[in-house]
Symmetry: C2
Subunit: 325 residues, 2 copies
């Protein structure tokens, strides 16, 4: 019976604290008990469920799905954006927008941003970044060569340059094709001083922004000319490849798929990516689901920004759960 009187008092303390916003010291004075006791009563109130705290996610946000993604794939953070329809265009726009906001809010002074430049989603992100007056970033490094097609080359360079301008960093372009014609050709390209300097910066990158590619070439990729032959793509597929980040392929388990083509790609490797402090991946859309799932399993991604439909698909899958941490 005295337990009830005790709980009554705890409830009163909880009310004064949570509802009336009184300080513990004042409550203690009012009730002639010590502040320590008030603190303990409040803890007790939680345990006894006299106070209940609930976090409601604002409509249009999907905290629960984000938590699901974090847990299922062991990533540090996930952002799931609202999207009215499951089409690539709107999805990319929303993902880019959310990523831009996140970047703005969390970019540290002096960061070295690495950006793999041929993702339409990343482009949307850059479109949404507000210029930061006090130069936050130190350098913005292009982590994958441009395309053979000069039009897209310019596009890629522009993306890096704009991002650099917006974040106040100095741009370091990778003035080379993303894929060299041969191993030898790559070596030649690497002999270029500017190219080498940029590549040497890869290890300094503190924040990498990457897109995730599906095996079926994206519109941008195909527009950019034949990067790989369809036979080469088929080979990767046969080896289990489900997608790529910066033209580095991986299978459904997140294991790298080694191919002879690796020697021709001029850009950051998955291994390099894994050493980077923060890796932000931007991707969504029906066709990319499998690729994203594989990418998440590589363990290099710290934050995924995706859309609700894709997130649902990622969680719905009955593939084995990979827990980290």
């Amino acid at each position: 019976m005295s337990r009830l009187n005790e709980l009554r008092m705890i409830a009163r303390v909880a009310q004064m604290y949570h509802v009336e916003n009184q300080r513990q010291a004042d409550i203690a004075k009012h009730l002639r008990i010590s502040q320590a006791t008030v603190s303990r009563m409040l803890k007790r109130a939680q345990e006894e469920e006299i106070v209940r705290t609930t976090v409601v996610s604002p409509s249009g946000t999907y905290a629960e799905i984000e938590t699901g993604l974090r847990q299922k794939f062991g990533i540090a953070e996930a952002i799931v954006v609202e999207c009215s329809e499951d089409r690539d265009g709107p999805i990319m726009a929303r993902i880019g927008e959310a990523a831009a906001h996140f970047l703005e809010a969390t970019l540290q002074p002096g960061e070295v941003i690495g950006v793999s430049s041929w993702s339409e989603t990343i482009l949307k992100m850059v479109d949404n970044i507000h210029p930061m007056k006090s130069g936050k970033a130190k350098q913005v490094v292009q982590t994958l060569g441009g395309m053979g097609d000069p039009t897209v080359q310019i596009h890629a360079n522009q993306l890096t340059t704009r991002l650099a301008k917006l974040t106040g960093g100095e741009a370091h372009l990778l003035s080379a094709p993303g894929v060299a014609q041969s191993r030898e050709a790559k070596l030649v390209l690497l002999s270029d001083t500017y190219v080498r300097e940029t590549i040497e910066l890869f290890s300094k990158v503190t924040l990498a922004i990457v897109g995730i590619g599906a095996m079926e070439p994206s519109s941008m990729l195909s527009r950019s000319g034949n990067v790989f032959t369809s036979r080469e793509i088929a080979e990767v597929k046969d080896a289990g490849g489900v997608g790529d980040m910066s033209l580095r392929f991986f299978n459904a388990d997140g294991q790298p798929v080694k191919t002879p083509m690796d020697d021709r790609v001029i850009g950051m490797s998955l291994e390099e990516l894994s050493t980077i402090d923060r890796v932000i991946a931007l991707a969504g859309g029906q066709s990319k689901t499998a690729a994203i799932r594989g990418a998440l399993r590589t363990g290099v991604i710290d934050l995924l920004v995706t859309d609700k439909f894709t997130a649902d698909r990622l969680l719905a899958s009955d593939a084995p759960i990979t827990t980290r941490e």
Copy 2:
């Protein structure tokens, strides 16, 4: 639209803080923002109602009614006890129990307790106090004389003595009748050294425990012999009296009702009561409702302990609301 991205982040912070019990500094590190920002986001989360905190009063307690009493009558605290039936016996027992618990929990070391000894409810309270080993109270002072009837006299003395023993204070009895035969008789009684010493202690009392009497004499009062004649009582009633504390009468507005009898009462006055740091009133029951309402309006009571039925009646009344503070 960016408001949504902002809210998303706030919701995430709130989740990490309230659900996952992470410290603000850790959240800040995880999200690459400052601890100050996390603190502000959490405040924002409250404002935006992303976090909702509710205090549920344990069943058997009536936090809402207590709040109603505090607000309507401007008292510092109220305790409303559960009671299955609206009869005086059980009500007094529950009130006494709750008051005992409260007293135990909040009695300060060195307090001087004043107790008006003829309330059955107070008796129940004393019955429920556990002995306090390390003498908390300094002195326990009887604030109203005993009754003419020697049996009750002993009762009253015992109550004070027991309370003193239980709280570890030294008992100061008021060895005199509660009501002298005349003004002159009172003066004679006051000349007694022990009586005077006790009365002088009134001003030192830090915590007074009082009962509230209705105009219809209680069983204890009537058993104790004719304290006042029914004619005297009628006079008080005519003057608007609705009840008394320690035989000091007041009307429905809480204004003292002065009568010639005041000069014959040997006990603490309402004025003295009002200077005391904490005044705890114990009372409940159908017949006492009007008396309690008047008592609350005197402004001398800091804490009322009553039962649910009486509390409901006190709140239901459409009498004008007297707000203090």
